[in-house]
Amino acid sequence: MTKRWQVLPRLSWRNVRRQWRRSLLTGTAMMLGVAALVFSRTIGDGAHEDWIDSGVRQGSGHVAVQDPGFRASRKLEHRISAAQWEAVAGALEAPDVAPYVERMTSRLEVLGLANAPTAAVPVNIVGVDPAAEAEFSQLGVEQRLVEGRYLEPGDRLHAYVGRRLADRLDVALGSRLVLTAQDESGDIAGQLVRVVGIFRTGVPEVDEGLVHVPLATVQRWLGAEGDITTVAILLRSAWDVPRVLRRVRARVEEATDEVAVLGWREAMPELDAAIKLDDFWGYVFNIVLFVIVALAIVNTVLMSVLYRTREFGVLRALGLTKRETATVVFTEGMMLTAIAGLIGLALGYGLVWLLFRNGLDYSGALEGDLTFSGVVLDTVVIPVYRGVQVVMSLGSIVAVGIVASLYPAYRATRIDVAEAMKFEA
């Protein structure tokens, strides 16, 4: 037996089909809106993932473990002892954390001077584990290596410096320079090193202000044997940061309360702000887009209601209640929304995959490197597809459909049945 409520969607669907030109026009507007939303989300998320990836690799990872005072002071006195580091390592090996960790590296960072016979330049001296760091920061990859090579296990008195620093100090591959910094006791200590490689990132402050030296060398030179200032942890996905952060914090706090476990947002607030700002404008764009789409739906469904005033009068005369009449109109809007939304999603993802699956290259629109806050950004954005995008896109279009269908539905309830019979379309 056909139930009363089953009649209404049938009427709605036939009306959507009957006014196919109008439906097609509105549906197309909605489809394009959803497709644009999908494009902006996949590319936007891809860009953000790239920003984060570049940022965390060149910075302190998705998760950084440091002494609580280190970020502000950048001094050796705020370092992590071998015992604390063991506690952190234990936390990272826990079964609910280890699967999320891609790699990690330990660093001993100090501010100091790079001295050559011709000049002295302030630099950030980073003692690194060559094997781990090569994979982590990728500072030695082909695109960045200008001359020589990156540090290797077994290196001792070697340094890997930026192109601008080499130019300012007037040093070349094989040249010697002296690094000076405050040691563990607060005295100024110097270390002679030889340049084994020169890199270029495109970020002036990095190319002029960063020196990589083997970790053991820095520890010995500064009297901090076994100590480090930062454990940088790279996760398999930036989306896992909150979960891993929570678990590592809980475990580390059990073992020691003298280290800070920071997410990349805390460790790199500038990058966090940039992504939030970009997200904000993304949302503004989406809202504008959806307001336009909503107006298109309101216009179509409302026009349809006005055009069919007499028909709604007839439905009421035949025994439909106001609510049921509104349901017919509302369902029309929602059907249009659902169909256009699903096609729009398929269209959006299809086009993004078809056109940009190998990345959207916007290097042509730029002069030189794209850098932000000391981070070199890749100019090829690989779109990112996520279930949450689909849910959000569908949720957005359904919300727009609901809002845009409510007013015409309300208008349909306001029709005076007797007056409607006089209406001429």
């Binding site: 037996m1 056909t2 139930k3 009363r4 009649v7 009427l11 036939r14 009306n15 089909r17 009957r18 007499r310 028909e311 009068g313 007839v314 439905l315 009421r316 005369a317 035949l318 025994g319 439909l320 209640t321 106001k322 005076d416 049945v417 007797a418 019979m421």
Partner: protein
């Protein structure tokens, strides 16, 4: 035997406001219409025929007075109850047919049965029987746009009577039809009145329809000027 009138009105007034001016469309109409009557309300344009018909069908509420359909007071009813009453007790035939364009002839005719939740087999059987009775068998699957005016109006009549309402209200049902179609349609309605006992109330100024009236109510300026009953039944 049911002696309850199909329609009873008591001092019904309908006053519209137009630009601050009160227009009395219906003025103090009191009347009874018995089940099975074939009533024609006639009068010039603006005499209040359509407004009175709308009042009887619960499409509009009176400014003053009371309207009972099948013993139920429309003036006390909620919107929902009125909708239910229209569905179950009142059928409408409009001048412009007013079939739903997205439905076939059969679907239009069975619409009220569908809303009542009647099983498909029973609906189809009732509608097909009725279509055969009123001479439109074979047109079940056509959309209104594929039917002539006369055929559309027959479908509208089928829609109005298929649910066995207490009352069928028809507003100028022949106004858009040619003479032959009008005669055929009136034959159909007269037969339904005679055979099935359907109560018809027409608003019209079609002389053919007036001639067939069992009871002719003349309205002038919103009030009943005359109310004549004929002894013989309407001519089929």
């Amino acid at each position: 035997m049911n002696t309850q009138p199909a329609v009873h009105t008591e001092e019904v007034w309908k006053v519209f406001e137009h630009d601050g001016i009160a227009v009395e469309a219906v003025r103090g109409v009191t009347m009874d219409i018995q089940p099975g009557e074939f009533v024609v309300m006639a009068g010039p344009s603006g005499s209040g025929k359509t407004t009175l018909l709308n009042l009887l069908g619960g499409l509009t509420r009176p400014t003053r007075g009371k309207v009972w359909i099948d013993g139920q007071d429309l003036t006390e009813m909620s919107e929902r109850a009125l909708a239910k009453l229209r569905l179950q007790r009142v059928g409408f035939v409009f001048q412009a047919y007013n079939l739903l364009p997205v439905l076939t002839a059969l679907e239009n005719a069975e619409f009220s049965l569908l809303l009542r939740g009647m099983a498909e087999d029973e609906r189809r059987r009732k509608v097909e029987e009725l279509f055969a009775t009123i001479g439109i068998a074979g047109l079940e699957d056509r959309r209104p746009s594929k039917l002539s005016g006369g055929q559309q109006q027959r479908v509208a009549v089928a829609r109005a009577v298929v649910g066995a309402p207490a009352l069928v209200l028809a507003d100028e049902p022949t106004a858009n039809l040619d003479r032959a179609s009008s005669v055929a349609l009136l034959d159909v309605m007269a037969e339904l009145n005679r055979e099935l006992g359907v109560t018809f109330v027409f608003a019209t100024h079609d002389p053919q329809l007036m001639e067939r009236a069992q009871r002719l109510i003349r309205l002038v300026d919103g009030a009943i000027e005359s109310d004549q009953r004929r002894e013989e039944p309407p001519v089929a």
